[in-house]
């Protein structure tokens, strides 16, 4: 049986590139967003012909983008986080793609809050992992996430 046909990658790019880039700008900051964006799109293009299911291309792109954002955070951390990669199958998409405005707001958070929020929600990391990645205590990581969310709630109201 023939799987549902994949559209030209160009169509995917035209439709979703902007949302992916703004998600990444929110997630890793504007200075690293383009690198992450390029890595995301190249990975996607490489894997594209083998993609079995064309029903949620946007979700698929965002899953790759989210992984690249987490990679960027880990690379930035002084020491590697002492944990394995999150299982991509287990972290079922929380539909970050539907929240482009939210990620736009995340971008405007202070750096510490932004990193904590991204690790928690884009990276799906536990507080001990976030603390390790940010070279800080669990309490402080929890505090940064809490402050970040409070600020987001105010901004998005």
């Amino acid at each position: 049986m023939k799987p549902s046909a994949l559209p030209a990658f160009q169509a995917l790019f035209d439709e979703h590139a902007h949302a992916v880039l703004s998600f990444l700008t929110g997630a890793v900051g504007s200075s690293e967003a383009e690198d992450c964006f390029q890595e995301t799109m190249l990975s996607a293009l490489r894997a594209y012909p083998r993609l079995a299911d064309a029903s949620n291309l946007r979700g698929w792109l965002f899953t790759i983008a989210r992984r690249k954002a987490v990679d960027a955070h880990r690379a930035r951390a002084r020491r590697p986080t002492p944990v394995a990669d999150p299982d991509p199958g287990a972290t079922v998409d929380a539909h970050p793609e539907t929240d482009a405005e939210v990620w736009d707001q995340v971008r405007s958070l202070p750096a510490k809050q932004r990193r904590a929020v991204v690790l928690r929600f884009a990276g799906d990391r536990s507080y001990p992992e976030i603390a390790a990645a940010m070279s800080t205590t669990q309490d402080s990581a929890r505090q940064s996430v809490h402050e970040g969310l409070k600020k987001l709630r105010r901004e998005l109201r």
Binding site: L6, A8, A11, L42, L45, P49
Partner: protein, 185 residues
């Protein structure tokens, strides 16, 4: 909304350098309307006139060849240059490599034969049928020409009816007349 052109250009450059673009696509203006041009690493694979739906054309190539299709104009520069010179009347024979992957066995034979009809002259459907070894196959030849994936460069416009009637054209008769007039001028 899409991303900044320089970001897009960098992506295209890197994708091309890594060999990840199976089919490059671009458009160009011409006296017979905007042309959509597609090329693989083997050569020119598709030309579409502007009245064909772009998404349909890309979708068909995605399905038949590869969905790794991106706007990468540079790969198609040689094709564009030859087409420009052809439309200006200064080029008679196209020299760009052709990728025949979108044609079946019979159509390929018909189109290869058609590609040898000299600039400025015409052949009949029957002539071509005889030359590809199917003397009674004028209609089949017509069908093969009608589905020519690379019009203009593979000059199916040079095939007309016995007796001089213009016959059909996948891109519409006004375009066929225009091309024949260009070549007789």
């Amino acid at each position: 909304m899409t991303v900044d052109q320089t970001v897009t250009n960098r992506f295209i450059e890197r994708a091309e350098a890594k060999g990840l673009i199976d089919v490059a696509v671009t458009t160009m203006d011409s006296p017979i309307g905007t042309l959509l041009i597609m090329g693989t690493t083997k050569g020119l694979v598709r030309i579409a006139f502007e009245d064909e739906n772009r998404d349909d054309v890309l979708g068909e190539v995605a399905e038949r060849l590869s969905p790794r299709i991106l706007e990468a104009p540079r790969r198609l520069d040689p094709v564009r240059r030859e087409l420009d010179r052809y439309f200006a009347g200064t080029l008679r024979d196209f020299d760009v490599p052709i990728d025949w992957s979108l044609t079946g066995q019979f159509a390929r034979r018909v189109l290869r034969r058609t590609a040898r009809i000299p600039y400025g002259s015409v052949a009949s459907y029957g002539d071509v049928a005889v030359e590809v070894g199917t003397p009674r196959g004028a209609r089949a030849v017509g069908n093969a020409l009608g589905s020519n994936p690379i019009p203009v460069v593979v000059p199916c416009h040079r095939v007309v009816r016995t007796g001089g009637a213009i016959g059909g054209y996948g891109g519409g008769l006004p375009r066929k007349r225009w091309l024949l007039a260009l070549e007789s001028g």
